[in-house]
């Protein structure tokens, strides 16, 4: 039996005006276990806390009930007071007789009666409280960033800046991501490469940052503060340490017909290649699907020309295992495939292109060296039609239900740049809505219309008909003039919806991080914890969490870094002690709890048990990782044998409260 002290607070007149506090203190005296009961004007004041501390010592209390304001207000205060008086802080329970009693009832009699019942319920619960100790787990002071686009780069740089080690895993041969393919950035029109490549170089030169390029995450184990990650370094058949990036191999390689993904397949590269001049690391990679030497052992040209002997045709995939305290997901996006939108003739005409392809056509490092030329015949287009929302806001099943957010702005950028560089070109933009919420965004769009004379037409394109003379007949609606238009265009640019990178889903499974129906990672709280996954220790950066432009991505990347730094700065993590606990003797190994756990905190293992007849038996039983469990209690209800219980909110405690209320 506990020795319980009850402390009823007046809260000035906040409680005392509608609850007869003395009557409450008096009534609770008779409850089982209560050895002391009193009231006081302000229990949270220094004097009030001292009253609790002194009473604990004087009466040898083992449990404390404070009838006061909401536990959300002062539970911590009273727990600390109790702890300083030498009892376990989790032996304190609060009866909320202010927010949930005195403030909402006018009638003293019924308010007092209710306050007594709430007090009794708290006493009944405290009877069954057990001292809890918050566990601690060490923090590995190293972070992993998955994805080396602008989001991952910014996060890594910020974490390194704070003095922590950070690794970037990038599946492509170089870091940089989609931003390397972009020509200019809205709304300021500065060149993407000019602002991105210095950051890439910073990553390479920062001794706190290690880049695993051409690598993928293969396995993740562990929990916040202590993840063990297996990284697969794909064979690039070139020794990264020896290769100087001179590029001679990429000039001599006889296989010249490999579609160049960096230029969206609009030109070719060799079988051994460096994606682009500013690649980081600047190391060649052999594409095993095309290399003659790797396919049939006949060639070896690159190896002959390499002056440092970096080529290694026998290289194998290797697995590296590393430990991390925090993981940042920055897996980014891709434009959707346009197979289901062939009314726009994307697969029927080379001159129907996506916006990302348009970026390459206007980029100085692109296939046309920055001159805007039609992919089909290399001529200047004189009429260009931009189509917005191709596959965005689409509930028909062909596209994505969400707004891709970036298309309105980049289309305005494309239209404006085209008109600036080629004033003789007619530019049409078909839009459903123009969405420009961002600093200087609407001004930018209006400039495209007002200063550059881009024709913005409210309506949609319904059909694109390529013709033998190379023109594209664009059939569209103009909703404001209520006309069907037929425009003879030379180039049609489709603003394809963006979707999370395909690797995200398998990664989410490895990380036990949750995703929405569109495969975007969900955040711990949509407003207040936007850069954290609900899974502790996993953080989100960039488009993997939802469509966003570069400024937003960079701010989120830095925010994620700040959260990581906050975590890594700790030597140890204090865990919430109110976590689930499995009674191994009752567990029947059914896995029901494991299935409902949103955090993957429950694992099963075979354990040896002494049976009553002195034999031993091996049974499969659940155990809860206290560092991962967040204490929701879903498992306690799912457990068919009643083996799972939640500390601090145990079955018996809650039922004791129910009994007290229903008495």
């Amino acid at each position: 039996m506990q020795k319980i002290g009850v402390f009823v607070c007046h809260c000035g007149t906040n409680i005392a005006a509608t609850v007869d506090v003395k009557a409450v203190a008096e009534a609770l005296k008779g409850e089982p276990g209560v050895v002391f009961s009193t009231d006081y004007q302000y229990m949270c004041s220094e004097a009030g806390q001292n009253l609790i501390k002194n009473s604990i010592k004087e009466y040898g209390l083992t449990g404390v009930v404070v009838c006061s304001c909401s536990p959300r207000m002062h539970e911590q205060t009273f727990r600390k007071a109790a702890q300083s008086a030498g009892i376990n802080p989790y032996m304190v329970e609060i009866a909320n007789i202010r927010e949930q009693c005195s403030w909402i009832h006018k009638d003293i009699w019924s308010a007092t009666e209710k306050a007594i019942i709430l007090g009794k319920a708290a006493v009944a619960k405290v009877q069954l409280n057990a001292p809890l100790t918050a566990g601690e787990s060490p923090v590995v002071k190293r972070a992993l960033v998955i994805g080396g686009g602008i989001a991952g780069i910014q996060t890594a740089l910020d974490i390194a800046e704070a003095g922590f080690e950070v690794d970037i895993v990038e599946k492509q041969p170089t870091i940089g991501g989609k931003m390397t393919q972009i020509d200019k950035t809205f709304p300021t029109l500065d060149c993407a490469a000019c602002i991105l490549t210095p950051k890439m170089v910073d990553c390479a030169q920062n001794e706190k940052i290690k880049i695993y390029s051409y690598s993928e995450v293969a396995d993740v184990k562990g929990f916040v503060g202590n993840f063990t990650v297996k990284i697969k370094k794909k064979a690039r058949y070139v020794d990264e340490d020896k290769c100087t990036g001179c590029g001679i191999c990429t000039e001599k390689c006889p296989v010249k017909n490999v579609p160049n993904e960096f230029n969206m397949g609009m030109d070719n590269r060799r079988a051994i290649y460096i994606p682009f001049a500013q690649a980081v690391p600047k190391v060649a990679t052999i594409d095993a699907n095309y290399c003659n030497m790797l396919k049939n052992g006949k060639c070896g040209v690159c190896s002959k020309f390499c002056t440092v002997g970096a080529i290694d045709y026998k290289q194998q995939d290797t697995i590296v295992e590393e430990k991390y305290g925090a993981i940042v997901v920055a897996t980014g996006f891709n434009p959707i495939k346009l197979d289901d939108f062939d009314e726009f003739a994307y697969s029927q005409s080379k001159d129907v292109i996506t916006s990302l392809e348009f970026e390459r056509l206007t980029n100085a490092a692109g296939p046309t060296s920055g001159t805007l030329l039609r992919p089909s015949d290399g001529k200047h287009p004189h009429t260009i039609v931009f189509v917005q929302c191709v596959g965005s806001r689409d509930t028909s099943g062909c596209g994505k239900t969400y707004c891709s957010k970036i298309c309105c702005m980049y289309t305005a950028k494309h239209a404006m740049l085209t008109r600036e560089k080629y004033p003789d070109t007619d530019v049409y933009v078909f839009y459903i809505d123009v969405r420009t919420p961002g600093k200087n965004f609407d001004e930018f769009y209006r400039r495209a219309v007002e200063e550059y004379g881009v024709h913005y037409i409210k309506g949609m394109v319904g059909k694109v008909v390529p013709r033998s003379d190379g023109t594209l007949m664009v059939q569209a609606s103009d909703l404001l003039s209520n006309e069907q238009l037929h425009i003879n265009a030379d180039l049609v640019v489709l603003a394809a919806a963006i979707e999370p990178d395909k690797s995200a889903r398998s990664l989410a499974t490895m990380l036990t991080a949750s995703m929405d129906t569109n495969d975007f990672f969900t955040e711990a709280h949509p407003k207040l914890r936007p850069v954290e996954s609900p899974t502790a220790g996993i953080f989100l950066s960039g488009v993997c969490q939802g469509p966003k432009d570069i400024p937003e991505t960079v701010s989120q990347a830095s925010a994620a870094a700040a959260k990581v730094i906050g975590l890594l700065a700790k030597d140890k993590l204090t865990c919430n002690p109110c976590v689930a606990q499995a009674n191994e003797l009752m567990c029947n190994g059914c896995s029901s709890c494991e299935k409902v756990c949103p955090y993957g905190a429950i694992t099963y293992s075979d354990k040896e048990f002494r049976m009553p007849d002195r034999t031993t038996a091996i049974r499969r039983v659940a155990s809860v990782n206290e560092a991962v469990c967040q204490g929701c209690g879903a498992c306690t209800v799912a457990c068919p044998s009643g083996a799972m219980d939640l500390k601090g909110f145990s079955n018996s405690q809650i039922m004791a409260e129910v009994d007290a209320i229903c008495k």
Binding site: S70, P71, R72, E99, A121, C632, A634, I654, I661
Partner: protein, 148 residues
């Protein structure tokens, strides 16, 4: 302390509120001084999914006239998916209770966010009125528990 007429029926109502949304919503109702009957007594749980059907059966066994569960709105659960479990479990439990003679109106699941103090008060007012109309719950009540 003044003595009150106790002829009129006062239902016993147990409300389970999740710590993150609904308990905070109840606090907000208090902060805004929004009235609802004193018959409602709240038990704080970490998540609505912590509520074992056993607790609800226990409440009716001990003479509760109504039980209400409040959690975060679907999609807003602090633990991501807890309230979905609640929704499914309670749908099943309530239809079973209905079969046992505990009217569907005596049990309820409501989503109340931390910002919905007014909704919390309105929900409780409505629930108390509904249960009051139904009168005392005779089913499942175990008189042996009452005698103590």
């Amino acid at each position: 302390m003044q003595v009150k007429e106790t002829n009129e029926f006062k239902p016993k109502i147990v409300a389970f509120c999740c710590n993150w949304c609904s308990y905070a919503g109840a606090d907000l109702a208090g902060t805004n001084r929004l009235q609802y009957p004193a018959d409602v007594k709240i038990i704080r749980v970490p998540c609505s999914c912590r509520v074992n059907p056993m607790f609800i059966l226990r409440a009716f066994q001990r003479g509760a006239d109504g039980v209400i569960l409040c959690g975060c709105h679907p999609g807003d659960c602090h633990y991501t998916t807890g309230n979905y479990y609640t929704r499914r479990r309670m749908t099943l439990l309530f239809s079973m209770l209905d079969y046992l003679g505990i009217e569907k109106e005596r049990t309820r699941v409501e989503w109340v966010s931390a910002a919905e103090g007014a909704k919390f008060a309105a929900t409780m007012n409505d629930f108390v009125a509904t249960v009051t109309k139904l009168g005392e719950n005779k089913r499942l009540e175990d008189l042996r528990c009452k005698a103590k």
